[in-house]
């Protein structure tokens, strides 16, 4: 049996407390030129690890961080809902140890512009983050080594 998939549609996605999370998977091919942007990122951030992931609008950073790369979540309200209802606790960067598996979110003017997953703590350098850059590729980078470096950074962890 074959399944017909719409080019754009929401997935059934809920928090631990069963609140629906607004999202949309976009299976359309990416706009021409995204590959050029990825090439430019490789030049602009030569010390980051640029994963061989093709351009896609199927998922964004929040979809990677909070929905296993399945979909695109664009609303800050949805991310705040996930942080609250999935029992994340905020970690103080200066007084607590950031660990692999923790979450980073980038905030600016009430928006959560970017997020990622801590994959490594590098002595003297800080956490390395795995994140997806919009429609572009996945990058492993230090917190300031990305286009969202002017945002405020917060770290979260699930402990239960």
């Amino acid at each position: 049996m074959s399944v017909v998939l719409a080019l754009r549609e929401p997935l059934a996605l809920q928090t631990r407390r069963k609140s629906n999370i607004l999202n949309e998977i976009n299976r359309s091919p990416c706009d021409a030129g995204v590959a050029l942007q990825i090439h430019q990122h490789r030049l602009d951030y030569p010390n980051a690890i640029h994963r061989p992931v093709n351009p896609t609008a199927a998922y964004n950073c929040h979809g990677l961080t909070f929905a296993s790369r399945r979909t695109w979540i664009h609303s800050a309200d949805e991310i705040k809902k996930i942080l609250a209802e999935d029992d994340y606790i905020k970690i103080d960067y200066f007084t607590e140890n950031i660990l692999a598996g923790d979450i980073i979110v980038y905030l600016k003017d009430g928006d959560i512009e970017h997020s990622g997953i801590v994959v490594e703590m590098v002595k003297g350098r800080g956490p390395r983050i795995l994140s997806k850059w919009g429609k572009c590729h996945e990058v492993i980078h230090f917190p300031m080594e990305c286009p969202w470096k002017d945002a405020v950074r917060e770290y979260y962890r699930i402990t239960t």
Binding site: D31, A32, G33, V34, Q37, Q40, N60, C61, H62, H74, S75, A76, K108, D109, G110, D111, I112, E113, H114, K132, W133, G134, K135, C136, P147, W148
Partner: protein, 146 residues
């Protein structure tokens, strides 16, 4: 010159990495392409080119970001009625268009001049205030531009 001749390179770079409409809007507000559009083109031209760009299926990232850049440029004249009018147009290829337009409507203030006439002669002449009104008021203009 037409609005399509503007260099959209930095706006394109922003659009490619935008995870949220708010990020796209924040970056476009300070983008050089938007600045040029505002300087070079009339409101009527921006409006007509924006309506045309909404109908056109994007062939590349420049086409995709153009409606948003034109929208932000158009919002700078403070004409809320024009922004509300734009919401009537379908935007089949610009998924964040109505959300960004609504944010601009909610956060923009019309560019109007409000004249305040502060009371004078308070203090020493307070007793005479009721009968000794100032003959020459000092006006303060406040430009509301958010």
């Amino acid at each position: 010159m037409t609005t399509t001749k503007i260099n959209y390179d930095s706006a394109v770079a922003t659009f490619a990495v935008a995870n949220t409409p708010m990020f796209l809007l924040r970056k476009l507000r300070s983008d050089s392409a938007v600045e040029r559009l505002t300087q070079l083109f009339s409101t009527d031209k921006l409006f007509s080119d924006l309506v045309a760009s909404l109908r056109k299926k994007p062939e590349n990232l420049t086409d995709a970001v153009e409606p948003y850049a034109l929208l932000v440029a158009l919002s700078r004249n403070g004409n809320l009625a024009l922004l509300k009018e734009l919401l009537k147009y379908p935007a089949p290829f610009s998924e964040w268009f109505s959300e960004i337009a609504n944010i601009l409507i909610q956060t923009s203030m019309p560019l109007t001049t409000t004249v305040f006439t502060p009371p004078q002669y308070l203090g020493a002449e307070r007793n005479n205030f009721a009968t000794n009104s100032p003959t020459k008021s000092q006006s303060v203009s406040a430009k509301l531009d958010h």
